[in-house]
């Protein structure tokens, strides 16, 4: 009996350990192929060259061209999602009647459940033509449309997580502020948001991390031209859509094209790892504040 219990515990522990193996596997695969990549391309060139053309005969390996596309689309997404998501969170928490809140939240969360390939289709065939009717110079593939649609997708991340954070603030704080004669608006911005700031910051960081790693929307709607630009009306390429482009073709294993996707993936992994660790740190540090 005792032995059986031990064996079961061991099996369960092994299941949990698979998550560690996953992380080790990710880092090992990315490093292994990237090291092979950096044997043919210097890190200096990788970080400073402004062109990324591994698929052309004249090859350049400047990751900046992909990083700029990644951050441009992510910045547009955050510019859309942050004000809208935060306003919705405050509205649902401070203004909306409880029944209204309970119905609306799941509805908004549907936005996060829609597969990203559907958003890509939406961006390319509906949003881009609509934007072109306002601004005719907009190219068919552009970071504006992709960024806006990505922003719509991450609204529920910010609104739901921020609302959870606002909800966790003790009622007494809110009531004390009302008791002083403050309006809901004043209470929201002077009491609730500062009190829930760590949770709200975490939601924003997770949204940024999500936007940087988002693939299908940009692969479909933002184009495939790596370029160092801040112009949202022209095609760009992100790290993720480059990986998709190479994967759709057939780069033979061991070729430089094959290795580039791991070097690009490593760059992406480092960005999201820093953001995720930062949010984890904030969560842990401020967790007990009101408990």
């Amino acid at each position: 009996m005792k032995v059986k219990e031990k064996i079961i515990e061991f099996i369960l522990k092994f299941c949990a350990s698979i998550t560690i193996l996953t992380t080790v596997g990710i880092i090992a695969v990315l490093l292994f192929e990237s090291i092979a990549f950096f044997k043919s391309v210097s890190i200096f060139e990788f970080l400073t060259d402004t062109q990324w053309t591994p698929l052309y005969s004249e090859k350049h390996f400047g990751i900046l061209a992909l990083v700029s596309g990644t951050f441009l689309t992510a910045a547009i997404a955050i510019a859309v999602a942050l004000p809208i998501g935060l306003t919705i969170a405050i509205y649902l928490n401070m203004y909306a009647p409880t029944s209204f809140r309970k119905t609306l939240k799941p509805f908004l969360e549907i936005l996060a459940a829609i597969p990203t390939v559907v958003y890509g289709f939406f961006a390319l065939t509906i949003v881009t033509p609509f934007l072109q009717s306002i601004y005719p110079d907009l190219e068919t593939f552009n970071s504006l449309s992709a960024g806006i649609v990505m922003g719509i997708m991450i609204i529920p991340f910010i609104s739901s997580l921020s609302e959870d954070a606002l909800y966790a603030v003790p009622k007494s704080l809110k009531l004390a502020s009302f008791g002083m004669g403050a309006t809901r608006f004043q209470t929201a911005f002077k009491v609730m948001i500062p009190a829930a700031s760590s949770g709200i910051i975490v939601s924003i960081i997770l949204a940024i991390s999500r936007a940087i790693g988002e693939t299908m929307i940009v692969a479909i709607a933002a184009g495939q031209q790596p370029q160092l630009t801040l112009n949202p009306t022209v095609p760009v390429q992100t790290i993720t859509s480059y990986i998709v482009q190479v994967s759709m073709g057939d780069a033979p294993q061991g070729s430089i094209e094959y290795k580039t996707i791991f070097a690009a993936g490593l760059t992406l992994f480092i960005f999201t790892f820093i953001l995720n660790s930062f949010s984890f740190y904030i969560k842990k540090k401020y967790q007990e504040k009101y408990e």
């Binding site: 509205y91 390939v117 559907v118 065939t125 692969a219 993720t240 999201t272 995720n276």
Partner: protein, 284 residues
């Protein structure tokens, strides 16, 4: 305008803004669904569901993509559920406060934030190349399993946490061992929560495209896979490949396939919400 009136005015304006933005979110959801249904509804019929993909858009169907999606999900369920639920049970019931368990915890929260395409690179390096499974259903489902593992683990833990302590103590008082308690008390009473998490994680997996592109899902598969080592396509992959073609006919076919994919996603989410509500009522 005095101060009091001004504050009232700001307060009301913000309320209007809040209503507008909330409605905007719902409105965009409506626009998205409306446009896709209008574009693709004409394609939805029995032929579309049972035809092979074709180079002629008006004859192309999603049969192989649907079968591929089903096969892939079946295998993913097989891999991910036992491991995910097992890991959740371990973390909630066995793990003591140690360095190892805190590393496990940080690691899982970090994995949940890793972009899905990175899982694709992991699958490419390990399953496709190292184990030599190639661009097969097996590689795809192993990759997706790792991707949804954190979701299942977190859901399992939450569900187990919600089980009242008194139930477990009653079981121990009757002389049950730890595993007997888990098997006969903890798992049955957390089942609804675990199930909700599993369905939600699968609805996420069904819509995944990026990691499958990297591990070799095909854009054009003119036959039904017969074994787990065969190549395959999935619904989102088919949508992606049709969306990127210039012919208008393929955009219509893509919209048709999207309707099917959204139906599956919404139904799964609906079922998950239903189980969650039922389970939460039962727990109370």
């Amino acid at each position: 305008m005095n101060n009091h009136k001004k504050n009232k005015y700001i307060d009301q304006s913000f309320k209007v803004l809040g209503v507008l933005f909330t409605m905007l979110g719902i409105f965009i959801l409506g626009v998205l669904i409306y446009n896709i249904v209008v574009a693709g509804f004409s394609r939805i019929n029995w032929d579309f569901l049972t035809s092979l993909p074709s180079r002629k858009p008006e004859r192309a169907g999603i049969y192989t993509a649907i079968i591929g999606t089903l096969d892939l999900m079946l295998l993913t369920v097989l891999f991910a559920i036992p491991i995910g639920v097992g890991a959740g049970i371990y973390l909630e019931e066995y793990a003591k406060k140690s360095k190892f368990s805190s590393i496990l915890e940080i690691n899982i929260s970090n994995l949940a934030g890793v972009p899905s395409i990175i899982y694709g690179l992991l699958g490419l390096g390990i399953f496709v190349r190292f184990f030599g499974f190639g661009g097969s259903i097996l590689s795809g489902s192993l990759t997706l399993s790792l991707l949804i593992l954190p979701i299942i683990i977190v859901a399992t833990r939450e569900a187990i946490k919600a089980v009242p302590h008194s139930l477990k103590e009653a079981s121990y008082a009757l002389g049950a061992s730890k595993w007997q308690t888990i098997k006969n008390v903890v798992i049955p009473s957390s089942f609804g929560g675990v199930l909700t998490g599993i369905i939600l994680s699968l609805s996420r997996a069904i819509g995944e495209t990026a990691p499958l592109i990297v591990v070799g899902a095909m854009a054009y598969v003119p036959f039904v896979p017969h074994s787990i080592f065969d190549t395959y396509s999935v619904l989102p992959m088919q949508i992606f490949s049709w969306t990127t073609r210039p012919q208008q006919g393929f955009a219509i076919a893509a919209a048709g396939a999207i309707i099917i994919l959204l139906l599956i996603t919404f139904i799964m989410n609906g079922i998950a919400v239903y189980f969650r509500n039922k389970w939460q009522k039962k727990l109370k």
